[in-house]
Symmetry: C2
Subunit: 135 residues, 2 copies
DNA sequence: GGTTGACATGGAGTTGACTCCAGATTCTAA
DNA sequence: TTAGAATCTGGAGTCAACTCCATGTCAACC
């Protein structure tokens, strides 16, 4: 179990941010050591790290919250779904599918930008190379 | 030439955002029709669209501004560099290289997230398929 | 010739995501 | 036992990036 300070260091999030995420309900309140101090588990830490990955794909905190609530199983795809009814499964599927589509669009845009950037870099590098071999 | 309203529709940016970008110096002031009304060219529109692509790669407006100023050649890689001195070329090269590295990291993170999401989707779809074939 | 609609300006307000602060509590080391 | 460090709470402040507002100009249509 980690203190809030250790958790901040492990995840790269600030102490304030950890408390903020808890306040807005993005993370569940962690256990309290001695009934007072927040105490984060290994799993909590992994979860916080995966949150940052999701964030990088451009989701807002509110979207992430909705995403995680709807698909509780994000952490564990083998979450007991058999008890869920068909509609719930379909809803989760469509949320994931939409999110995937957005990520794919972003992926394609990134790829094209990277390609352009590489070409420009090449032009510069050639220029520098030519300069270097001048008399 | 397009009015600010038409430009907003074409680019997906709001009228206020177009004026805001101009105010902070991210875009150059467009020609004024009848000395009063902003009038955007095809090229202005293309530029605005490419700004949005850059933005999606996670650059802030300030970074984008610096990026575009430093490497004026972003729009045209064959910009007359011969007149520039070696240091300027090196500076542009390193800005582009750093930006490329960031994009590559983001690209890898996205790929891994997409992979995970696809796996989860697969699990759900199988569940739905099984349900469908039940007695 | 009056109303409508698009656009202008300067400045204020909003939103999301933190970040900081004051004052209190508790444990730890000198 | 007192000073320091880490944490607590509730609430205020900040920053980027818009977004809205009041008021004014102009051209066009009825």
């Amino acid at each position: 179990m980690y203190s809030i300070g250790q958790t901040a260091k492990l995840t790269g999030l600030s102490i304030d941010t950890l408390r903020y995420y808890e306040k807005i309900g993005l993370t569940k309140p962690p256990v309290r050591a001695k009934g007072r101090l927040r105490s984060y588990s290994e799993e909590d830490v992994r979860f916080l790290i995966s949150l940052q990955c999701l964030k990088k794909t451009g989701l807002t905190l509110v979207e992430m919250k909705a995403f995680l609530m709807e698909g509780q199983c994000y952490a564990n795809p083998y979450f007991p779904l058999s008890a869920e009814d068909r509609e719930t499964i379909e809803s989760r599927t469509s949320i994931l599918a939409e999110h995937l589509a957005r990520m794919e669009a972003q992926y394609a845009a990134l790829a094209s930008l990277m390609e352009q950037t590489k070409e420009k870099l090449e032009v510069y590098r050639e220029l520098l190379a030519k300069e270097a071999t001048k008399p």
